[in-house]
């Protein structure tokens, strides 16, 4: 990642590929019990994006402050907790179980990654935004209502020709810039690209209630 881009908090399309590669390895190592992130190619074979499917995220997760792991059967509604690594399966009412598909797609215009997501219940029925909003942590709900520029909107997925929810990229480079300047370790070791997505998702994921385990920041 050129220092110019680093300074701006943006990254090139090629660097996104590098970052994605590192991210996948990192996540699949640290969070091996969770659904894996995979790299999906667009039909043009040049652009690709990161995909995480069937991730269990629900509103009670915030209390526990842990990632929820769906356990061996992704769509099973087991009531008893399953202990896997550091994560605990949250006791949830089966009806309130919400699954998310997350796609991280590179935006050529803003030169940053953008999060697209969709949510559905255990029957595979898509969730309306007001139901998704209930899942969001309190600070997101407040930010949504305060913000002049709505930052979660329904827009067309760049490749799939379907409406997905999208988190707006407009401010991304600003806070990525702050993140990288604030962390001496990142600046010194120069592994900015490889950690870009971990850093990015640790902020962005918060909006939808996805917490990134600290372990991932230590993996190099």
């Amino acid at each position: 990642m050129g220092t110019k881009e680093e300074a701006q908090g943006t990254l090139s399309s090629t660097d996104f590929g590098v970052a994605a590669s590192a991210f996948i390895l990192n996540w699949n190592t640290v969070c091996s019990s969770f659904p894996p992130w995979t790299w999906v190619l667009s039909h043009h074979q040049v652009e690709g994006y990161l995909s995480l499917e069937n991730m269990l995220l629900s509103s009670t997760q915030e209390e526990h402050g842990e990632l929820s792991c769906p356990g061996p059967g992704i769509h099973s509604h087991q009531e008893d907790p399953i202990d896997v690594d550091d994560a605990t399966l949250v006791h949830t009412n089966p009806c309130k179980v919400h699954y998310y598909d997350l796609h991280i797609i590179y935006c050529n215009s803003y030169r940053v990654p953008v999060l697209y997501f969709r949510a559905y219940d255990s029957d595979g029925e898509p969730l309306e935004f007001d139901e998704i909003e209930k899942d969001l942590p309190a600070y997101s709900k407040k930010a949504l209502s305060d913000s002049k520029w709505t930052f979660i909107t329904q827009e067309e997925h760049p490749y799939l020709n379907r409406p997905w929810y999208k988190l707006h990229p407009c401010g991304t480079s600003e806070w990525m810039k702050l993140l990288f300047h604030a962390d001496d370790a990142l600046a010194k070791t120069g592994v900015a690209i490889e950690l870009y997505l971990v850093a990015w998702l640790s902020v962005v994921g918060h909006v939808v209630g996805l917490r990134i385990p600290f372990e991932m920041m230590k993996q190099l």
């Binding site: 590192a22 215009s109 067309e156 409406p163 490889e194």
Partner: protein, 340 residues
């Protein structure tokens, strides 16, 4: 004021709009509505003109959101009308026959639309994105005063070019310099990025007549590419429209000039590799294009209903043919070898 800009703003598509048969409750069937739709406008903005025409025929009860289809293909409302026409009608159909629906909005396919507000929001957002591409930030758009924003939108809504130029010039979104001599001088080209939206459809068989071109019956047959074109000032007017289109289709036209990042080393296809020390290996950048470039042919390029010569300087195209949100929309038909 730019003559070309006037022509673009005055460009319109004659539409013949039929009410979907499932929604007709009267006999005889209401005649279609004939509407002249501005090229730079959007279909939902025509609803105030269309609805009264059909209100007698509609079934009782409050209607859903309005949507349109062309030969069964639901139309994406946030794409300018002129672009939809250039893209979906290989052989221009005049008037263009569309079907309007007041019920049954296909929300699994189309993004929701709440009339004018949704279109306005989409427009402003595209403008913001264009501003970011051109200036590296979108402060100028975000800081627009409320009255300015309203006036800008109104000018687009009403096709008022004078008002538009007045407000938009405050935004400082010039990509090409304005030192034009009145006689077609080309002006200075700045180094930078130009907002472009490419709509690509591929055919594997040749056709002589556009009439014989295969029908687009699904959006999956079109690749939508939202990628800025990079211009280098030194190339000036030698950078042609053809160069520009090829530069944002590296999958079909691999870049001849190799930078360190994009040079064609032997890359394994689609392999997830751990970044090497130099951070050189990366996913999926199979720079060997899927098709050798001699086998891919640009069959058709349409912008604002025109098929410009590919040797025209790109800066001219940008200056003359962009839409009000500062995007250049280009419809491209590529002939590619049969994919086995």
């Amino acid at each position: 004021m730019e003559e070309a800009q006037k022509y673009v703003w005055e460009g319109a598509i004659p539409l013949q709009i039929h009410l979907h048969e499932s929604e007709v409750t009267t006999l005889p069937t209401p005649p279609p509505a004939l509407i002249l739709a501005p090229r730079i406008g959007y279909l939902p903005l025509l609803v105030p003109q269309i609805k009264p025409h059909f209100s007698n025929a509609l079934p009782p009860g409050s209607p859903d959101t309005v949507w349109f289809d062309y030969n069964g293909l639901p139309l994406k409302w946030y794409i300018p009308t002129g672009v939809l026409f250039d893209l979906l009608c290989a052989e221009p159909e005049r008037p263009w026959n569309l079907t309007v629906h007041f019920r049954g909005y296909p929300s699994n396919i189309l993004v929701p639309c709440e009339g004018e507000d949704s279109v306005k929001w989409s427009f402003i957002n595209s403008l913001k994105e264009a501003a970011y591409i051109i200036n590296g930030n979108c402060k100028n758009v975000m800081n627009m005063s409320q009255p300015d924003q309203v006036e800008l939108w109104r000018s687009v809504l009403n096709g008022n070019l004078e008002a538009y130029v007045r407000i938009s010039s405050k935004l400082k979104l010039g990509t090409v310099g304005d030192e034009y001599a009145d006689g077609g001088g080309q002006g200075q080209v700045k180094t930078g990025r130009v907002p472009v939206r490419l709509y690509v459809w591929s055919v594997s068989e040749d056709f002589d007549d556009l009439e014989d071109a295969p029908q687009i019956d699904s959006w999956d047959k079109i690749s939508y590419i939202n990628r800025p074109v990079e211009i280098h000032g030194e190339e000036g007017n030698y950078f042609t429209l053809q160069d520009a289109v090829k530069s944002i289709l590296p999958e079909y036209f691999p870049n001849k000039s190799s930078t360190n990042e994009e040079s064609s080393r032997d890359e394994d296809e689609n392999e997830q590799t751990v970044p090497s020390e130099e951070g050189e290996k990366y996913l999926s950048e199979n720079v060997e294009s899927c098709y050798p470039s001699d086998n891919v042919e640009i069959k058709l390029v349409r912008i604002q209903g025109i098929e410009p010569k590919m040797e025209i300087p790109f800066s001219w195209v940008v200056k003359k043919l962009t839409n009000p949100e500062h995007y250049l929309h280009i419809c491209v038909c590529l002939k590619v070898p049969q994919v086995l």
